[in-house]
C-alpha cells in the first residue's frame, strides 16, 4: 500500500472500506485474479496485465490461435479443405478475441459466420448443413406428437 491512500483512509469512510477489502485478499484470491486476467488477455481480447513481456505473450496468443485452427480443421475437414491455404489465416482473424469453446463449436460458429458473410465455399456449406443442429424442426415434431 502506498502512503497517500493510507493517510486518506481515516478521513473518508469509503476509502477506509476499500482499503480493508484490498488488504483482505488472500494469496489464492490474488492468484485467481492474476490467472483470470492473463487468460482474458490471451483469448478474449483483454488488456495484458503489467509486467509481462508483451512480445512473448503476443507470440503465445498467436501460437494458440494457430493451434486452435489446426484442431478446428481436424474437426471440420471439409470446411478446412474447401478454404485450403486461406483456412488458417481466415479462422485466426475470426477467432482472435473470441474465447475457445471446443473445436466442434468453434468450427460451427466459424462456418455460420462465413455463410452469413456469403463466403462459405460449397464443400464447407455441405458439411455445415449436415452438422448444424436444427432446433426448430425438432421442436415442431415434438409439438405434433
Amino acid at each position: 500500500m502506498t502512503g497517500p491512500s493510507a493517510e486518506a483512509a481515516p478521513t473518508t469512510g469509503t476509502g477506509a472500506g476499500t482499503e480493508a477489502v484490498t488488504d483482505a485478499t488472500t494469496p489464492a484470491e490474488d492468484l485467481a485474479a492474476a490467472q483470470a486476467a492473463l487468460v482474458a488477455a490471451l483469448v478474449a481480447g483483454g488488456p495484458l496485465p503489467p509486467g509481462f513481456d508483451t512480445g512473448r505473450v503476443d507470440a503465445a496468443r498467436r501460437a494458440l490461435l494457430r493451434k486452435r485452427a489446426g484442431e478446428v480443421a481436424r474437426a471440420w475437414p471439409l470446411l478446412a479443405g474447401s478454404l485450403g491455404a486461406a483456412f488458417t489465416p481466415r479462422f485466426v482473424r475470426w477467432a482472435a478475441g473470441r474465447p475457445p469453446s471446443g473445436s466442434f463449436a468453434d468450427g460451427l460458429a466459424f462456418a455460420q459466420h462465413l455463410r452469413d458473410a456469403g463466403e462459405l465455399p460449397p464443400l464447407g456449406a455441405t458439411e455445415l448443413s449436415e452438422r448444424e443442429p436444427r432446433p426448430e424442426k425438432v421442436r415442431r415434431r415434438f409439438w405434433r406428437r
Binding site: P27, A28, E29, D30, L31, A32, A33, A34, Q35, A36, A37, L38, V39, A40, L42, V43, A44, P50, G51, F52, D53, R56, V57, A59, A60, R62, A63, L64, K67, R68, G70, E71, R74, P99, P100, S101
Partner: protein, 283 residues
C-alpha cells in the same frame, strides 16, 4: 515415492496413442506402452476398439490428463478427477499423469496449457489440487509434467528448477519429464538445456516425453507436429546417462507422418536412450 517408482514396470519406448495413428500403433510389434489423452476416453462403456486390443496384448496404457487445470487457483473439478480415476480403472493403468499448468480461469477456457507463476502461492494451489486429485485417485500414482512456456510471469519467486523441486517436495509426486519442454524453455530463455536438466529432481522421473517442435518468430514452439530435432534426442541421451526412467514416449499431435517415418522416430529415440545407458555404464 521411490516405492511408487519401483512398482512401475519397464515400459521401453512407447508412443502417444491418437485415433489418427491407431493403425500404425497397432502394428508396432514390440510396443510395451502408450499414453492416451484422458479427456478423449469414454468411461461409462466397456473398453473397446484399438485400445482394448492393445490392452489384451498386455500393452500398458497411461491416461494423460490435459484439462484438469491442477495449477489453477480454483479447486479442481471433482467430476474431472472422477473421470481420471475411471480412466485409470478402465485401462488398469499403473499411473496417471497431468500438467503443472492451468487451462482456465475466471470462466474462460484457454484451450491450452498455460504456465503458472513460479510463486509460493502457486505452489500452495498446486499442492492443494494435487491432494484433491490424489484423494480421488485412490492407489494410482499421479505424475506431474512441467510444460513449455513462451513467457514468464513478472512476479516469479523461483527459477524453473527450484519451483519444480518445491512442487515435488510439497506433493511427493512423481515427475513426467518432457525433454522437448526442457529444450524449449532453455532455448527460449537463452539457457543451456543440460545445465537445466542437471538441476531437476531426476530421481523422481517416472517416464519421459519426447516431441518435435519448430522455430517461429525467433522462439522454439513445442508443436508436436514436427520431427524430433537432434538437440532433443541429445537430451534423451543426456537424461539416460543420469537416470533410469521406466519409459520414454514419443508425442505427436497433428501432421501425422507416414508409418515408416513414425517408426524411424521411435528407433531414433531407442538409439538415443541406448547411447545414454551405454555411456552411464562406462562411467
Amino acid at each position: 515415492m521411490t516405492s511408487a517408482l519401483s512398482r512401475l514396470p519397464d515400459l521401453g519406448v512407447g508412443v502417444g496413442w491418437r485415433p489418427e495413428i491407431a493403425g500404425v500403433v497397432a502394428d508396432l510389434p514390440d510396443l510395451r506402452f502408450c499414453e492416451v489423452v484422458a479427456e478423449g476416453i469414454h468411461t461409462h462403456v466397456p473398453l473397446s476398439g484399438p485400445l482394448a486390443t492393445l490392452r489384451e496384448r498386455g500393452v500398458t496404457v497411461v491416461p494423460h490428463g490435459v484439462r484438469l487445470s491442477l495449477g489453477g487457483a480454483e479447486p479442481v473439478a471433482p467430476e474431472r478427477v472422477r473421470h481420471l480415476a475411471e480412466c485409470a480403472a478402465l485401462l488398469d493403468a499403473p499411473l496417471v499423469s497431468e500438467h503443472i499448468a492451468f487451462v482456465r480461469a475466471g470462466d474462460l477456457e484457454a484451450g491450452h496449457l498455460l504456465p503458472v507463476p513460479r510463486t509460493r502461492a502457486a505452489v500452495d494451489a498446486l499442492a492443494a489440487n494435487y491432494a484433491r486429485t490424489r484423494d480421488g485417485l485412490g492407489d494410482v500414482p499421479l505424475a506431474l509434467e512441467p510444460i513449455a512456456a513462451l513467457f514468464d510471469w513478472p512476479d516469479d519467486e523461483y527459477d524453473e528448477a527450484d519451483f519444480l523441486t518445491a512442487v515435488l517436495d510439497r506433493t511427493g509426486a512423481l515427475l513426467l519429464l518432457d525433454v522437448a519442454n526442457v529444450y524449449a524453455n532453455a532455448q527460449n530463455r537463452g539457457q543451456d538445456p543440460i545445465a537445466l536438466l542437471d538441476r531437476l529432481p531426476l530421481d523422481r522421473v517416472a517416464y519421459v516425453h519426447v516431441a518435435g517442435g519448430r522455430e517461429a518468430e525467433g522462439l522454439y514452439h513445442d508443436t508436436h507436429t514436427d520431427p524430433v530435432p537432434q538437440p532433443v534426442l541429445d537430451l534423451v541421451t543426456a537424461l539416460a546417462e543420469r537416470a533410469t526412467p521406466a519409459g520414454w514416449l514419443l508425442e505427436r499431435d497433428g501432421d501425422y507422418p507416414p508409418a515408416e517415418v513414425l517408426r524411424g522416430e521411435l528407433a531414433a529415440i531407442t538409439g538415443a536412450v541406448a547411447a545414454g545407458t551405454r555411456a552411464a555404464g562406462v562411467r
